[in-house]
């Protein structure tokens, strides 16, 4: 871990405040832990992607600095060296910066939980801190929220651990991406969040009843909020991750809704589009392009009517028009008779004659030849677009691609110099950086396989990422993600099919939060256990891992248990393939159960937990009829390991079941014997007394 020791001198500015208020610190996570921006983020980390010609991380740092943050810890993982280099060159690392920036890198961070744990392990924060991602663009003044947060913590003895900041924006707002639609149930008096759920394309929403019994008599359920991904956390957030007790449930998360200010998180390209245009339309004032807040040399631009911004050295050919909301970077040359609207063009680009650009985001050093039409697309650094190319909506040309001449790219085409297949080799370390190895690998590949002229034109270079063929489901998913779900023609069916892998009926998950989170969480738990097995990690540490994941994905304790059971029961299938026999299955599973017994014990404590645990076991086995025989063995060993108790098993067994299948399950020979045995054991133990 290469921690950069920043200078220790403290800004003098707020000295008088300092006596009553401690130094305000922030944790900036410069990694999204997902691959939404692939293939673009393969060459450049997301935090460094230019938004209106300034790296996103600069917006975030500017936001933090202007709210009075005096010390920021930047955590990076993917391509950390690039981020570090960028920050060292930027104004944030100058000795005069009022906000001292420390860069902390590690390849081991796989989730927000890992980062928070590290924050705590290194004892970096001393009091309440701001937690943001490296792609937040905002000008919200958090001081009021901060004050509320501190007040609450004073009043309620540190029960409140987090205050999330939301921006009011009704449905249909363009800065709301369907992907990030959320529904929040809150206590209107205490502003406490009772339930937080991602609403993406769900027609039915479930709220656990218990949230309405929490003592307050006024509740609000709101759908008009935009999560700014800015939260004020107490140092306990990370400490609580260590606590393995149920007390986690006792923690409270509060919210602060702001009407003024602007805050959004660039979570996909659709958001990139809207946030860019909002920046150009000055919604984020005073963070505007002409303010040159990043203080870079030669970046100062002028602002003229209709939000046209020009950096120095721009040349515009005869008859070319910059209609509205246009930002053009320095030394860019634009030919004659071009029409440009709602567009950002980076530095040192060359654009030919008769080019039409609308909602185009063109980064640096791009060459565009004559007669090109671009609609709502992203064109990355060093791309060459040849004569007569037409880019339809939502195309992405990643770094160094060459397209054309005379080709029309379909809606949603993604081209990259990286071959999509190279993903398969690297599936193992999905989130780890593979920069060096990857590069050398795909160079050899590029030589091997030729570019398809039908995809990129006769002189083109690049591979098509989004394929319409259905067998490549994984890539399909990736490509859709890059523009967000709004593009997805039928998001509902899609998300449902995802769920169906987990359970047949949505109704069986009464309190399920965001679906994809549950799924991701499940994968993460699986990964954790796998690693635990491979590296022989002790159960205590596994519990810690799982708890931190729980935090990162906002999963309730009950679900953690359900998912844990599911993962463990399905573990042998993942290891050995789905076709293994029952005998093999149980012989694989039982040692695992024994090994992880402490983990289970940690989560299964009350009688209700046992019931839930059994119910989810039942659910898993219902899906796999052929392995019913193993259920008994599982129950037996769990009973022997003292995870489950007689009463629990008996009450589960006597539960009046609804479906035929589960009744069938209960009539299983082995199970009946087992129950009988338990009954006898119970009686005998009673007899002893």
């Amino acid at each position: 871990m290469a921690g950069k020791a920043g200078k220790q001198s403290r800004p003098r500015k707020a000295e008088k405040d300092e006596e009553e208020q401690p130094l305000l610190q922030a944790v900036l996570v410069a990694d999204s832990f997902n691959r939404r921006f692939f293939p673009i983020s393969k060459d450049q980390p997301r935090a460094l992607l230019p938004l209106a010609n300034v790296s996103m991380i600069d917006y975030t740092l500017e936001f933090l600095t202007s709210t009075g943050v005096q010390e920021t810890f930047v955590f990076c993982c993917w391509m950390s060296s690039k981020i570090k280099e960028h920050l060292q060159k930027s104004k944030w690392c100058r000795p005069t910066s009022p906000n001292v920036v420390h860069v902390i890198t590690s390849d081991l961070y796989r989730s927000l939980g890992d980062v928070l744990r590290d924050v705590d392990a290194k004892a970096l924060v001393r009091s309440d801190f701001l937690l943001v991602y490296g792609d937040v663009v905002s000008n919200i003044d958090v001081s009021q929220a901060l004050q509320e947060h501190r007040q609450r913590r004073k009043m309620e003895k540190n029960i409140s651990v987090m205050t999330m900041i939301f921006k009011e924006s009704p449905p249909g707002h363009k800065t709301r991406c369907e992907d990030d639609d959320i529904i929040v149930a809150m206590d209107s008096k205490s502003k406490r969040i009772l339930h937080y759920q991602r609403a993406q394309a769900l027609k039915k929403l479930h709220f656990p009843m218990n949230i309405f019994h929490s003592g307050s008599d006024e509740f609000e359920i709101r759908f008009d909020l935009l999560d700014c991904h800015i939260s004020i956390c107490s140092p306990q957030v990370s400490i609580r991750l260590y606590e393995t007790q149920n007390q986690i449930l006792g923690n409270q998360i509060h919210m602060h809704v702001t009407k003024d200010g602007y805050g959004a998180c660039v979570s996909n390209l659709l958001m990139y589009d809207t946030v860019s245009s909002d920046t150009i339309r000055r919604w984020v004032y005073p963070i505007t392009p002409e303010a040159n807040f990043a203080d870079q040399e030669g970046q100062s631009c002028t602002h003229s009517r209709h939000n046209v911004y020009r950096e120095p050295g721009v040349s515009l050919g005869h008859g070319s028009q910059m209609e509205e909301n246009v930002l053009i970077g320095r030394n860019t040359m634009i030919g004659a008779n071009c029409t440009i609207s709602n567009t950002v063009i980076g530095a040192n680009c060359v654009i030919g004659d008769n080019v039409t650009l609308d909602r185009a985001y063109i980064w640096n050093r791009v060459h565009i030849a004559n007669d090109v039409k671009v609609k709502q697309s992203v064109i990355c650094d060093n791309v060459e677009v040849k004569h007569g190319v037409v880019l339809n909506e939502q195309c992405v040309l990643a770094y160094n691609v060459v397209v054309g001449p005379d080709i029309t790219l379909q809606e949603g085409t993604v081209l990259s110099m990286h071959h999509p297949d190279e993903e398969d080799d690297e599936d193992e370390d999905e989130f780890l950086s593979d920069d060096d190895v990857g590069h050398s690998k795909d160079k050899t590949k590029q030589k091997g396989s030729l570019f398809n002229p039908a995809e990129v034109g006769s002189e083109g270079k690049g591979y098509r990422w989004k394929t319409s063929s259905l067998d490549d489901t994984e890539e399909d998913e990736l490509a859709e993600c890059i523009w967000g779900l709004a593009l997805n023609p039928d998001p509902e069916s899609d998300s449902e099919s995802e769920v169906s892998e987990g359970s047949h009926d949505l109704g069986s998950h009464p309190a399920s939060p965001e679906l994809d989170d549950v799924k991701v969480f499940q994968n993460e738990v699986h990964g954790t256990l796998q690693r635990g097995l491979d590296e022989n990690i002790s159960c205590d540490n596994l519990v810690l891992e799982i708890n931190s994941l729980k935090y990162a994905y906002n999963i309730s304790l009950k679900e953690v248990m359900q998912i844990l059971i599911r993962v463990v029961l399905e573990f042998p299938f993942h290891q050995q393939g789905a076709q293994i026999s029952t005998a093999q299955y149980s012989s694989h599973l039982l040692p695992l159960l024994k090994k992880w017994a402490p983990v289970f014990k940690n989560y299964v404590k009350r009688p209700q937990d046992q019931l839930d645990c059994l119910a989810s076991m039942e659910e898993v086995f219902l899906e796999r009829e052929t392995h019913w025989a193993a259920l008994v063995k599982v129950l037996m060993s769990m009973y022997q390991l003292e995870i489950l108790e007689e009463e629990g098993i008996m009450s589960w067994f006597r539960q009046s079941t609804t479906t035929d299948k589960s009744q069938q399950l209960r009539r299983n020979q082995g199970l009946l014997k087992f129950i009988q045995w338990i009954e006898e054991a119970e009686e005998s133990s009673e007899g002893d007394e």
Binding site: T96, N139, S169, K259, Y285, P286
Partner: protein
């Protein structure tokens, strides 16, 4: 043992004293640049809303105090060096918030002070130095900076003294202006004003101590600073009416005098004032109502209205069309400019801290305040 200790200490002593000597100087330097940085970033962020989070009087004072600090702490050996430093920092400060012209004005004032003090130290009269004639322009070589290379021991103290005088002058501007109130406001008059100007507020309050009059305040949407103004005036028992901006013309026929503040007085005698002022000025002209501008001298800028890039300031359109409006936002372009240009022919009189002047006299004030070579920083 003890002996060894003393030897060690003696060996360390030079290094020790060295650090002692070095520390304050280095600290001063970083302290100075830190202050400059924080001032710059404050300028950049200031006015996220109405553009008047703090008055320009305060900005002027802060700028001057900072320039004084630079004069005192930066390394320079002669006036030429100092001017170079101040010009460099001045350029950065004005670039940080181009619409805040006060900053640039104060930089120019300080530059002028340096020139004067230098000239005095050399013994020549400042008048002779300042007189620009065609002959002089032709004969003098391009850079007059060469003349500022001489070193004078007392120059620093003199300059700081003069800057202190400037600061005292700045402290008193509002009082100086409001002292003249009784000459302009008579009993039972109807006065109209727009938005909120601290100078006008003080001016009216001063007059209200002796006379009874009625004030109409145009609310100045979308930020509605007029509401604040009206509350503040009515607390002083001034009869106040708030009117919407649209009613300015309708009410104008009853008004005896229009008294407004401004953000900047431009070199041609025009104004850059809060938006809505142009409407007000045109209505006043139509009804031949005198329009009086209360503007302290530090708002006088050598800028002309045709310098388009820095003239305007657009803020977040939130106040015009709230962000919560939803769907419609993607279909419209909303703009929220802050300033209006008021041409000089619509203005009757300027009241500054040194007295009343007609717009046509602005050029003269300009040449008294700033050296022609400093117009462009």
């Amino acid at each position: 043992m003890l002996h060894q200790f003393w030897v060690d200490l003696l060996q360390d002593l030079p290094r020790f004293t060295e650090t002692l000597v070095k520390m304050p100087g280095a600290d001063k330097e970083t302290d100075l640049s830190e202050r400059i940085e924080s001032f710059l970033s404050e300028l950049k962020r200031c006015g996220s809303g109405a553009g008047s989070l703090r008055g320009s009087a305060e900005t002027a004072r802060e700028t001057t105090a900072l320039l004084r600090r630079i004069t005192a702490q930066a390394r320079w050996s002669n006036a030429g060096d100092l001017m170079e430093i101040i010009r460099k920092e001045g350029r950065r400060m004005t670039a940080a918030q181009p619409s805040e012209t006060t900053v640039g004005n104060m930089v120019r004032r300080v530059l002028k002070i340096i020139r004067e003090e230098y000239a005095r130290s050399r013994g020549s009269t400042e008048e002779a130095d300042q007189q620009e004639s065609l002959h002089k322009l032709l004969t003098s070589g391009g850079s007059s900076e060469d003349n500022f290379r001489q070193h004078f021991a007392h120059l620093k103290a003199n300059i700081i003294e003069a800057i202190n005088e400037l600061l005292t002058e700045l402290e008193g501007t509002t009082d100086n202006i409001s002292m003249q109130a009784l000459e302009h406001i008579h009993s039972n008059e109807v006065i109209m004003t727009i938005g909120r100007s601290r100078t006008v507020e003080a001016f009216l309050k001063d007059a209200a101590r002796k006379r009874k009059f009625h004030v109409m305040v145009a609310e100045c949407a979308p930020f509605c600073q007029g509401h604040e103004m009206a509350t503040s005036l009515s607390k002083e028992d001034i009869e106040t009416t708030v009117i919407p901006d649209a009613a300015i013309f309708a009410v104008m026929s009853r008004v005896n005098k229009v008294i407004i503040g401004t953000q900047t007085v431009l070199a041609n005698g025009g104004l850059r004032a809060v938006n809505g002022t142009h409407t007000l000025a045109l209505a006043a002209k139509h009804h031949s109502t005198p329009l009086i501008v209360c503007a302290p001298m530090f708002k006088l800028s050598p800028q002309f209205p045709n310098e388009e890039d820095t003239f305007h300031k657009f803020v977040s359109p939130h106040e015009v069309l709230p962000f919560t409006e939803g769907e419609i936002l993607s279909k419209v372009n909303a703009h929220c400019p802050l300033f209006d240009y008021v041409p000089p022919e619509l203005i009757t009189l300027f009241i500054s801290n040194i007295g009343g002047n007609a717009p046509s006299y602005i050029y003269r004030l300009m040449s008294e305040l700033y050296h022609p070579e400093d117009h462009e920083l």
